[in-house]
Amino acid sequence: MDKPIQAEMPFAIVQGEQLTELPKDLYIPPVALQVFLEAFEGPLDLLLYLIRKQNLDVLDIPIAEITEQYVDYINLMKDLELSLAGEYLLMAAMLAEIKSKMLLPIFEEIEEEDDPRAELVRRLLEYERYRSVSEEIDLLNRVDRDVYLSTAETGNYQQPDILPDIELPDLIIAFQEVLKKAEMYSTLHFMKEPLSVKERMSEILDKINGKDFVKFEDLFNLQEQKTGLVVTFLAILELMKELLIEVVQAQEFGIIHVKMLVEKENHEPN
């Protein structure tokens, strides 16, 4: 299949030749690149850099191009085995999503919908406002750099050794705090017995035994307090870990189903 190939943005020009990927034999001290890559304060900062570097309009980002360049940087960081903050990958996913939305055929109705880039643009512009004002604040006259305070020593003055004062009510309030906390612990301690995870695991197995699929939410008893719900959730996780049940979701945001991996009948001898 023929399709126009978009020229890759060079990230360096060496002796008039554009380099689009790192020459394998070229040794760049990892520290130097690390310093360069760490100069970015996050994915928004990196995106703004890519956009500004090419004099592109933030309000009309060529999303395909920027996505590609962004991913190049991410890959470069990965190649160098630099630890990559999760936010960078999240942004890559967001760019890919916007790109795919922009590729959708435009029908009359869709045309009136928001530009898929709108949210990204809003975030970029918002971030840029604070970034630029922080540079201005950085230039304000500050103490110890632009302003030197005048002080006189208090040479023959002995600063009195002042001990903090407390009032009896302060002490009582402190102990009430202690009691409240201790009460919290003892409640947890008390709850532990009736709501053990092991017990709940058996209950769940009973519930789904012999059925094809049980809805995930049906496993929870909404009459229970939060602690009870958490215990149920922990029990489900434990059952998954022990490979006793399988949790499946057919589609994004769809209903989650729980199924027994091995039927009890088959599992038990006779």
């Binding site: 530009d115 304000l140 302003v147």
Partner: protein, 197 residues
């Protein structure tokens, strides 16, 4: 009167922090009877006395302080060479967001910067007394809300928050070619619903 001026000068130099006229009045009045007007007059006289000197009285958020005039910064830079604290871009951005959007939670800062806020930055800002917790937002998790302090303004030589540089205007993404029209339509709807109310 001259005596009060001299005490005010000595207090401003040895207090270790800026002093407001009220506070100076309270301190001096506890020993020697004086009015607040006397204090303000003393400060004004000091300002005049210092006109030919290389020091000056400056007013910041927490009060008055005495500082070297910038004309001798060249000399002082020799003494303080390399002792100037430096702050990272991340810290300055975090501080700016708190200053302009206060009170804010860590989550607010993170959603603007697009990265998680490092605990060490928040600790540095708190240790320097530039930010403080002013309350807890009434949402799940009860996150702490931060604001800037007077010490923050003092450090940057400001009297009040409104003296900070203006935050650049938002360039409205409305200009996006695709959604110009629907936005106009929305505006019309809003106007008409407003008229109904």
């Amino acid at each position: 009167m001259n005596q009060i001026k001299n005490i005010v000068e000595a207090l401003l130099l040895s207090s270790g922090e800026p002093l407001s006229a009220d506070r100076i009045h309270k301190i001096i009045n506890s020993k020697e009877s004086c009015t607040k007007a006397d204090i303000l007059e003393a400060i004004d006289t000091l300002k005049i006395d210092y006109e030919n000197k290389e020091i000056e009285v400056s007013r910041v958020a927490s009060g008055y302080r005495i500082q070297a005039k910038s004309t001798i910064n060249d000399f002082l830079n020799i003494i303080y060479a390399d002792k100037t604290p430096r702050y990272s871009r991340a810290l300055m951005e975090t501080l700016s967001i708190i200053a302009y959007k206060q009170p804010v939670t860590r989550g607010d800062i993170e959603s603007i910067r697009g990265v998680s806020v490092s605990s060490s930055i928040m600790r540095t800002l708190t240790d320097r007394n530039w930010i403080k917790i002013v309350g807890y937002r009434d949402v799940p998790g009860k996150p702490a809300m931060f604001s800037t302090t007077n010490e923050f303004l003092d450090y940057f030589g400001l009297e009040k928050l409104s003296e900070l540089p203006d935050l650049p205007d938002i360039k409205e993404p409305q200009n996006l070619s695709l959604d110009l029209e629907p936005d106009m339509a929305d505006e019309v709807t809003q106007v008409s619903s407003e008229q109904l109310n």
